[in-house]
């Protein structure tokens, strides 16, 4: 048995990239390992593109795009892919909105039909918009049931002063109560144009067949104009910011956030290696890699806090984004440990890395972990298609293929440098969730 080199991973070569005359970018990759095909349609619009007063509109629009089109009634929409045993879904985040179907290859034309309808023919019936308002508020309230998520929302809003990354993707509840059908439809028509979209098809298909079908389904959609992205720049942070939530609860949570580089920034790969050394490598697949625990038992923050009994859980998150977002470090205090002592120990561990950097062995381990995780997170047509579309949307063509080499090239000096510069106290936002005894 000769171990397969990572460069031979199914995600690496042979992506057909084509732009239709109307500007729609199309990426096709044949993968014949299973009788499945995955279609993802990506739009370059997310909560970072929302004006004040309309926070959450991108996500609400995503919900409306499952509520029927001119040629597919709402009732039909959910049966089309299921007939082929397929699954469908969608998500919205700060830079992107995306829709997916994974099903048998015989469903491909129907999947492309759905996506073409979604791009042009959404109904936005007023009563459906109203009904969805309370569904989304329920989604928001469900999230707020989780103290860690509540803290995350508050820390993010505190870490940003001006940049629209500051508000949660789901929106502020008052905006969700105030906006209406015309706001939703206007946002939809502005952003759902071929020039703002990337269509990705990966699976047990013939690329030439796929491109012909894509042309038939999408070729006649008018080009439209891709909106220019105008986001307020974030002013430099000049001192530590803090937020304290005191509410009913049982468990104390601590969260740090620092300003992170964009995916295309020079610091991104060194930061990815730094995060892997601090909290264990997750990978870079937002769809599948941030569930479950990473390999982290030898990671710096884990050994400093979990192995010393101060935290029951640590996790770090560096997610690739179009513009500088946040690197966050989340800690759950072990029962009986105060947030003050947990924070002191966590800061000491971070300051140690800032002062002395990491050992060569730590950097090598972090890189090896990332190399493995990059393989694990492209183990299916659904995951490969996600990664191609995600990076085309947030970082441009060819970026995805460069990640493995980019990680490999990182040096211990670069890691020490980003730790020193980016994890400084005056660049930090610190959040506490301090539980109050129920009924107190």
């Amino acid at each position: 048995m000769i171990p397969m080199a990572v460069s031979d991973a199914p995600s690496a070569p042979a992506v057909r990239a084509v732009s239709l005359d109307n500007g729609l970018r199309v990426l096709v990759k044949e993968v014949h390992a299973a009788p499945l095909v995955s279609v993802w349609c990506w739009y370059r619009v997310g909560s970072g593109d929302e004006p004040p007063g309309l926070t959450g509109v991108s996500h609400w629009v995503e919900h409306m795009n499952f509520k029927g089109t001119v040629n597919i009634s709402r009732d039909q929409m959910k049966g089309i892919v299921e007939k082929f045993g397929g699954t469908w879904n969608g998500y919205t985040w700060i830079d992107q909105t995306t829709y997916l179907e994974t099903a048998a290859p015989s469903a491909l034309d129907q999947m492309l039909f759905i996506e073409a309808e979604r791009m042009t023919n959404g109904l936005y019936e007023p009563e459906e918009c109203e009904s969805e308002r309370t569904v989304i508020i329920s989604e928001l309230q469900g999230g707020d049931n989780d103290p860690d998520q509540l803290l995350d929302t508050e820390v993010t809003a505190t870490a940003f002063r001006a940049h629209p990354y500051r508000h949660p993707t789901i929106g502020w509840v008052d905006d969700l109560r105030a906006m209406g059908r015309d706001d939703l439809y206007g946002h939809y028509r502005r952003h759902y144009v071929p020039a703002s979209a990337t269509l990705v098809i990966v699976g047990d298909v013939d690329a030439d067949d796929v491109l012909r079908t894509v042309d038939r389904r999408f070729g006649r959609i008018p080009a439209g104009t891709s909106p220019v992205r105008r986001r307020a720049p974030e002013p430099p942070q000049v001192g530590e910011r803090r937020v304290l939530i005191e509410r009913d609860g049982t468990t104390a949570y601590l969260k740090f956030a620092w300003h992170a580089p964009a995916a295309s920034g020079a610091d991104f790969f060194p930061m990815l290696v730094l995060d892997a050394a601090l909290t264990g490598a997750k990978g870079v697949n937002l769809w599948s890699s941030f569930r479950g625990m990473p390999p982290q038992r030898k990671a710096r923050v884990y050994t400093a806090l979990v192995e010393r009994g101060l935290a029951s859980m640590v996790s770090g998150a560096l997610i690739p984004t179009a513009e500088p977002f946040l690197y966050s470090l989340s800690l759950t205090a072990t029962e009986g440990v105060s947030l003050a002592s947990l924070e002191a120990a966590a800061v000491a561990a971070i300051e140690e890395v800032r002062a002395r950097g990491l050992t060569e062995a730590e950097v090598a381990r972090a890189k090896r972990q990332l190399r493995a995780r990059l393989v694990f997170e492209t183990d299916s047509v659904t995951n490969i298609a996600h990664q191609l579309g995600y990076f085309a949307t947030v970082a441009g063509d060819g970026y995805f293929e460069r990640i493995t080499a980019g990680v490999e090239a990182v040096t211990p000096e670069q890691v020490a440098d980003v730790a020193r510069r980016r994890l400084a106290r005056d660049q930090r936002t610190t959040g506490w969730f301090q539980p109050l005894e129920r009924g107190a």
């Binding site: 299973a34 049982t250 468990t251 072990t334 493995a372 393989v375 183990d379 299916s380 009924g439």
Partner: protein, 425 residues
């Protein structure tokens, strides 16, 4: 490999001379291997007075062996990018992970050592004990977990292995000793209780040889089987409220005790559940509660038959003011499906969906390993993925209607609500 995928799985199954079962499926879609070692050592087998012992053992089993310190195990796993996961349910305790093909031998050797010779160092027990207690406290603040656990207690009783929470209680976690862990391990971990699935970019001959190397000399008597205690069948509706003052949303868990996995009506019940609370965005339940009434982001049902009769659980998260309306909507959909059965169109759509989704169930090495472990656990045979379409096709509308009449009865439902609602549901 394309032909293999279309034709279905072709696992190689071997039983070592000591009774350990090894199932290997080679795949080529990723240069990685998923390993899953499942033991019949779940919560069912816990001794009286130590609820959560199996869970506790799962947290500490990989923290040091006779030959390897906790630090050495951590080093090997971390160097390979491997996160070893231990899952504990009512019947099994499973160690699982995914590794690069080139690390397969090293990782399998560590997993075998962890399963066979855990040392349970006292210092590790104390660290993990504090984590478990923290985790139970977190669950106490989670309305979804509270509602689900309250429902399990209503359906099965708090002492039944299907009724008590898998993590046990804080008192239980405080009572666990090193001797109790060692005794539980000695009593339940043996080659005859092991099913090892290896799925990925590794030839079966190499996988089997490696499994033989690390497990072949393991000699331990087969653990005794333990029957699932009898399950009560309530004759009246039961309701409970778990008050959680400041939570913005209430969680509802509503359910029935159903059938065992090997019951002949399994496929009819599976399709029934798909129609009630799975198809599309969540079957009839989501159509009513989410799509028509806009009350909830999630409304669905889950069907979980096991060795003994498992539950069918309806779940929804709603504004606290809408709890009564949501429970009424669940009652309505449950009663209508029980009375009238499914429509012909629903039966046909569900059949197409379930048959068509089999390749998607087998999309990744992890999902194939899970499928093979379930097949092995229930004795469904190595060709189960190929027999499954026929088993689904054979179910008639009348079968599903009969299953609905047998299971779905609002006057015998158990209803648990966790959230800031003082009123009875």
């Amino acid at each position: 490999m394309r032909d293999t995928a279309v034709a279905g799985l072709a696992p190689v199954r071997d039983v070592l001379s000591n009774g350990a079962r090894v199932i290997v499926q080679e795949t080529s879609f990723s240069p990685s291997v998923t390993i899953s070692a499942s033991f019949r050592a779940g919560g069912l087998y816990e001794p009286a007075g130590l609820p959560g012992l199996a869970w506790f053992l799962g947290r500490v089993i990989d923290r040091g062996t006779a030959d390897r310190s906790a630090g050495q195990i951590a080093e090997t796993l971390d160097e390979s990018g491997v996160a070893l996961k231990v899952s504990v349910n009512r019947h099994t305790l499973a160690l699982s992970c995914t590794c690069l093909s080139e690390d397969f031998e090293t990782i399998l050797a560590v997993m075998a050592d962890v399963a066979r010779r855990p040392a349970f160092p006292e210092a590790e027990i104390e660290k993990r004990r504090a984590e478990i207690i923290t985790s139970i406290r977190q669950d106490d603040d989670n309305p979804a977990v509270c509602a689900h656990e309250a429902l399990q207690r209503l359906l099965y009783g708090g002492e039944h292995p299907y009724g008590r929470p898998g993590k046990g209680t804080i008192a239980g976690a405080e009572a666990v000793t090193r001797d109790a862990l060692r005794a539980f391990h000695a009593g339940r971990f043996a080659p005859a209780a092991l099913s090892l699935a290896i799925v990925g970019d590794v030839p079966p001959a190499r996988a089997l040889a490696c499994a033989g190397d690390v497990l072949g000399d393991w000699d331990a008597p087969a653990p005794p089987e333990r029957a699932v205690p009898p399950v009560p069948h309530p004759s009246a509706r039961q309701c409970v409220v778990v008050p959680m003052r400041e939570k913005p949303q209430s969680d509802i868990a509503y359910g029935f005790v159903t059938i065992a996995r090997l019951d002949p009506s399994y496929y009819a019940c599976w399709m029934l559940n798909n129609i009630l609370g799975q198809f599309g965005i969540g079957g009839r339940l989501a159509e009513n509660i989410r799509e028509r009434q806009g009350m909830a982001y999630y409304a669905f049902s889950a069907f979980d038959p096991s060795v003994g009769p498992g539950p069918l659980v309806v779940r929804a998260g709603v504004d606290p003011r809408n709890v009564d309306r949501a429970v009424a909507a669940i009652d309505y959909e449950v009663a209508v499906l029980a009375d009238g059965g499914p429509t012909d169109q629903e039966v046909e759509e569900t059949r197409q969906f379930l048959v068509g989704s089999i390749p998607r169930l087998l999309e990744t090495n992890q999902s194939i390993a899970a499928f093979l472990q379930t097949s092995e656990f229930f004795g469904l045979g190595p060709d189960y993925d190929r027999r499954l379409p026929g088993l689904i096709e054979a179910v008639t509308r009348e079968d599903i209607e009969a299953a609905g009449r047998a299971i779905l009865e609002p006057s015998r439902a158990a209803v648990a609500v966790a959230g800031p609602v003082p009123a009875e549901p």
